[in-house]
């Protein structure tokens, strides 16, 4: 959640890439989605009470055909109470991308997700997520706070998800705040259901404002697959693209989640 120092490339890098940074996943209940596994879309459910999940993933980014980098991340989640999970994680970056492109991919993050209800025939499932992120470079520690509302509603065996979030970022080095809204809408489904539910396809479209007044916002799309390797392990892979200010970025990543 580090506040980026924007140029056009950085904006699309962030938009395309941040979703694929390894984050939370619900391994045992494998229809659950969470940001980064493999796309940014989350569903409204928390992991089970007393369950732990560890996950790790790797992502490759490219923008405008001239910058590239690898991102490795790992996270831990815990079901603190029924319907309430907490998590912590971090990511490290390697590669040739310039400083402006590093953005929020590196640093740490703490988060909590509270699921308010189970989806019914008419009501969607609802959750609220709060997150705090930080990163350090050149003696500065940038921080960001985000709150996200999540809705999940099904039509038959297809689940639709809406994620709407707002982020406030603080950069003491520059002495100014940045704020932006984010919206992601998508769906997930198991193409083999009801007989086969190990494979789940998920796709979304998203839009993000720039933190800077007058800056370029980003729009894009992602698609990914999740595969239940065993009752405790989920594998995932995804691709994403985004555009901002006429520039394009691409990302591809894969990850693993283990519940215990």
């Amino acid at each position: 959640m580090r506040r980026p120092r924007f140029d056009g490339t950085a904006a699309v890098f962030l938009a395309a890439a941040v979703a694929l940074v390894p984050r939370a996943v619900h391994a045992i209940d494998h229809t659950n989605l969470d940001g980064g596994r493999p796309v940014r879309l989350e569903d409204a459910y928390a992991i089970a009470h007393r369950e732990w999940t560890i996950e790790a993933g790797f992502r490759l980014d490219a923008a405008d055909g001239r910058t590239g980098r690898g991102v490795f991340g790992a996270d831990v989640l815990f079901g603190l109470l029924p319907n309430l999970q907490i998590g912590a994680g971090g990511a490290a970056v390697s590669g040739s991308a310039g400083p402006a492109a590093l953005g929020r991919a590196e640093g740490g993050r703490f988060e909590t997700l509270f699921n308010l209800n189970q989806e019914s025939l008419t009501l969607p499932a609802i959750a609220l997520e709060g997150a705090f992120g930080f990163s350090s470079s050149g003696g500065d520690t940038d921080t960001a706070y985000e709150v996200t509302a999540i809705l999940t509603k099904s039509l038959g065996r297809v689940r639709f998800h809406v994620n709407g979030g707002y982020e406030v970022a603080v950069d003491p080095g520059r002495g100014e705040d940045g704020e932006r809204g984010r919206l992601a809408v998508g769906a997930s489904f198991a193409p083999g259901a009801p007989m086969g539910t190990r494979w789940v396809i998920v796709a979304d479209g998203f839009a993000e404002e720039s933190e800077r007044t007058g800056g370029d916002g980003a729009v894009g799309g992602e698609a990914g697959l999740r595969y239940l390797w065993s009752e405790r392990i989920v594998l995932d892979a995804g691709i994403g693209t985004a555009t901002a200010g006429g520039r394009m970025a691409f990302a591809a990543g894969a990850g693993i989640s283990v519940a215990f």
Binding site: E51, L121, I126, V168, M195, T197, R198, S230
Partner: protein, 323 residues
């Protein structure tokens, strides 16, 4: 620094985010269908995951049974014509005989059931989790004091809000006498007998498990599973009442009576829950129970009575759908 709620007026996303917030408030006030999800992990212990590690073949059978329960629930919420229900029954057999390596996602198998009656789904889910925890416990050679672990698992289960009672109930009398009680078994006897076969396996394996360690279980379990497959191929239509724990697993029922009662109550809930709206009336007490299922010991010793054979197309082990 700005606050969470300080939305810049010029933000083009502001209307969308406000609409999303308004929808949250709106649905939050519609409490008629409000139910929390409350998923809870099974109790931790050295026995965790012992069943798939020590007895993978049995583990796959239980994965199939999970699908069988969910798929029937979904099927009965749709068209209830004989053809549709029989198709669902054959799909269950196809799934079981495919040897599913992981449990199905029951919310994807039965999405309407999960959304319509989540409390029931949760009650079934927690009771099935109790089954799985006990199978793990008795499959584990790492746990010496099985009775202490059993008490821990049982206490955890009974602490759940939708736990099924461990008090013995009048199954064959009052609970089999509701107007809807025998509607499913009368209308779809083959599918009903197939479900009773699931419940027979779920019970019988306990008596194999309490006899010895994982090695002995691996040696004896194939015979019990094979007997169960015989029931799937030829549903035991001569059974007139669900298999009881004390019949299929008398040793387990005597040593662990609370769990045995819970599972009988669970299976009774399954049977009554399959009522399809075609209700009957009249007292149930005194009804014949028909041929009774054998115990695991009888199967292992070769003294169990073969079920009456029925005709019809039924998948067999080895056939199957890849999933």
């Amino acid at each position: 620094m700005g606050g969470f709620v300080r939305l810049p007026m010029e933000s083009p996303m502001r209307p969308l985010l406000l609409a999303l917030a308004a929808s949250l408030v709106t649905v939050s006030t519609a409490s008629a269908q409000w139910v929390t999800r409350d998923e809870r992990r099974a109790p931790r212990g050295e026995w965790n995951w012992a069943l798939p590690r020590e007895l993978p073949a049995l583990y796959r059978e239980f994965n199939g049974i999970d699908f069988g329960h969910a798929h029937l629930a979904q099927a009965l919420l749709g068209a209830q014509d004989s053809s549709s229900v029989e198709t669902a029954r054959l799909q269950v057999l196809e799934f079981i005989f495919s040897g599913p390596e992981v449990p199905p996602d029951e919310e994807l198998v039965a999405p309407d059931f999960a959304r319509a009656v989540w409390e029931a789904q949760r009650a079934f889910g927690w009771a099935h989790q109790l089954h799985r925890s006990l199978y793990d416990l008795f499959a584990s050679d790492r746990v010496e004091d099985k009775d202490a672990a059993y008490r821990q698992i049982l206490a955890d289960y009974l602490s759940k809000p939708e736990a099924i009672t461990s008090h013995a109930l009048d199954h064959h009398g009052a609970l089999w006498g509701f107007p809807e009680s025998r509607a499913f078994s009368k209308r779809f006897p083959k599918f009903n007998a197939q479900i009773w076969a699931y419940h027979w396996l779920q019970a019988a394996v306990y008596d194999v498990q309490v006899e010895g360690g994982a090695s002995l279980q691996r040696e004896q379990m194939p015979k019990v599973i094979s007997w169960y497959h015989g029931y799937l191929a030829n549903p035991p239509l001569d059974w007139q009442f669900m298999p009881l724990m004390r019949e299929a697993a008398p040793a387990f029922a005597e040593r662990f009576p609370e769990a045995a009662v819970i599972f009988d109550n669970l299976h009774m809930l399954h049977d009554n829950g399959h009522g399809d709206g075609h209700m009957e009336t009249g007292p149930a007490a005194g009804r014949p129970m028909g041929v009774r299922p054998p115990s695991a010991r009888e199967v292992l010793e070769g003294t169990a009575v073969e079920p009456v054979r029925v005709t019809g197309e039924t998948p067999s082990p080895g056939g199957g759908h890849e999933h």
